[in-house]
Symmetry: C2
Subunit: 211 residues, 2 copies
């Protein structure tokens, strides 16, 4: 006689699996997380997992999709905010990318050696695909308004996204607080310089990094 758990709504189950998987992927790393780890955490069987997802990688894709959607929505909200100037918007979006509600940072904080190559690369690629067009439009508008200047808005965005995503990822490099500030200042400088924005357009934003 098999003990059967009461069925949850499919959405809830799926979300539950994704939530647990996400936590494990971030804390232990994707490769080191076992399907069985996920199962025992929510106390379901293999069959249930594979009823909702066709593979381990499939969950990861779903998780990445989920937070890219959130990022894109956040980016669009920022883009639509008329109280912000173009440079401000750009900075917020690019830096916001590595700020998944502090969730990741908090979790990784102490855990060393999490190296999550696959997940990181996938989400970086996806981020570029989805966020680059939005940011590019933003820069193009800035050019029209005369606050930016560059013949390569799209490629500039790509460079900025890739480097910030890589350099500020807590799972790849472990900078101490001081180094982080330095990197951020440098990033702001590079941002200003490469877009030929007015010096100081971004500078004041650096205070936010103190928190």
């Amino acid at each position: 006689m098999i003990i059967m758990k009461k069925s949850k709504s499919p959405e809830a189950r799926k979300k539950e699996i994704m939530d647990v998987a996400e936590t494990l992927f971030i804390t232990k790393g994707y490769a080191k997380t076992t399907i069985n780890n996920i199962l025992s955490e929510i106390d379901i069987a293999k069959g249930t997992f594979y009823y909702y997802f066709k593979s381990k990688e499939d969950v990861m894709d779903a998780i990445i999709d989920r937070f890219i959607t959130i990022e894109v929505e956040a980016a669009e909200a920022i883009a639509a905010d008329d109280t912000l100037k173009a440079p401000d918007k750009i900075f917020r979006i690019i830096m916001g990318e590595n700020h998944h509600g502090n969730k990741k940072e908090k979790m990784i904080e102490e855990l060393h050696e999490v190296s999550n190559e696959k997940m990181h690369q996938k989400s970086l690629i996806e981020t570029i695909k989805q966020l680059a067009p939005i940011l590019t439009r933003m820069i193009e508008q800035g050019i029209v308004e005369g606050v930016f200047e560059t013949p390569y808005p799209r490629e500039t965005v790509e460079v900025l996204l890739v480097s910030s995503g890589f350099i500020f990822d807590d799972g790849i490099f472990q900078w101490d607080e001081e180094e982080k500030i330095q990197k951020a200042k440098a990033f702001v400088y590079i941002l200003e310089t490469v877009l030929k924005a007015d010096k100081g357009d971004f500078q004041y934003l650096l205070q936010e990094l103190g928190k």
Copy 2:
């Protein structure tokens, strides 16, 4: 009665294993390459492999070390070349990084979907660790000579290395020939702008990308 192959010199064996593993890692991807794939290619037994390397990842590390050493030597040769100007050197080193003797490109050319996250990330990190100091010194010298200007030489180098390593990697994005030229032009522009070099200092180098 066990048939025993004649012993090779340890160096030769080790190199043989690394060569075969490298080819397989590049063509099939690290994850999809099996230890047994490597073994049957050179016709040795499991034990032999693990006599020379403590794990699959260990071979990869050795392979990465090997070509980083080559890159560093190439970079130092370029650095020591008095016939080249600073901007020229920088460009050659950064772009040379994604030009492993055409070996990788040739191999990947047709093979789609090789995605080699782990190997790529590791070598990018190692490249930054080893190449960044050399390039930083180069920029600092350029600043003294008055051809460059930036308060953040180190961080600028990091941004340039990360983005070129990522964007120009044939395994990550598949740009067609035209797009590649566009990316390279943009990269040169960004390089010039962020270092405040004279326009045109790098431009002529773009002809090299035609080959």
